[in-house]
Amino acid sequence: MGPLISRGIIGSEWDLVIAILIGFAFGFILESSGFSSSRKLAGVFYGYDFVVLKVFFTAAIVAMIGLLYFSYLGWIDINLVFVNPTFITSSIVGGIIMGVGFISGGYCPGTSFCGAAIGKIDAMVFTGGMFIGILIFSEAFPLFENLYNSGNLGSVKITETLGISAPLFVFIVILVAIPLFYIVTKIEKKIKKVNY
């Protein structure tokens, strides 16, 4: 049955309406979960607020489980679901750069939009910085080009990389995540509350 747009069940003229609706829900959930506050986000790195980790992992696990069930029930053709191609070197380097950006700026792109929407000036500046960053990247692209295209592994899935079945992998992730949630809650309670 799904994905509805890839299968042409929903016409492409609805694309943008759906985009706005999904974006709306995304923004609402992010903001309501507290992702519009950079200090709340940064809390995950100092142990005073693990909201990012909790939301992030819960969402990923729910979506993982859901996708596998949907696929099993025949509601979605898993082969039509986009799998971001893995360019291992560029992924790692990009991830490191983003990591430094994260701890320095306190936002990531999605959350900076949320912050900007409710009037956080730092979030607006962060978004502005992002524009400039992309501009720099595109101008200096010849410099990055080799790196950008290096280590191409294609659209591989983690289950292929590790060689285990998808349900087993998801089950392991769940079994890891639950104690993790428990531990971070303990840590949160121990570490001095930061007022923000």
Binding site: I61, V62, Y69, Y72, P167, L168, F171, A177, I178
Partner: protein, 204 residues
Amino acid sequence: MNLKYSLLAAILVLLGFVLLILPAKEQLSETNPEVLQYELGEVTHFISVDKVAERIINQDPTLLLIDVRMADDYLKYSLPGAENIPLEDILNPDWADLLGQIDRDIVFYSNADVYAEQAWMFARRKGYKNLFVMQGGLNNWFGTIIKPIEPTETSSAKDIETYRFRKAASIYFCGGQAVVSEANPQDAIVITRKKKKSKVEGGC
């Protein structure tokens, strides 16, 4: 621990566990038998030799002919532009790219249409789309297109029209090699010309 968190944890573990013990679904990619039965029942999968001939003559790029006979037979004679996938090799994954071209109509043919329909059935079950079978196969092709039966005087206008098309198609398909042997006909022309000359002379 708080009840709501225990509940969430229990739900996630349970869902993950159920996923783990669900029986593996093997035939997910295969076409549902009911779909195939419908297509067989409505006979939507046959394409007439006339249609095929017309599309070959028009050099329709969306037509892909697949010869499902043995390689020997294919090499001896095949329709113009046809590819060869012997019936016993139809499930070979090597053909996935060829059969998976969704923007082309893939027409199977064999000497009759039995093997071609079998190939159609297997390819269709595997999930390939836009597959057809040439009705009557090569025997029908030769019996109608290459050696069209002349309509009788009582035939309908439509039959005569069909005959004309087939005759023209026959010349098209047989003419391909005539171009190569251009030299002989020229000789023939000379001879016949002479004959005619003499006739004219005789007339006077």
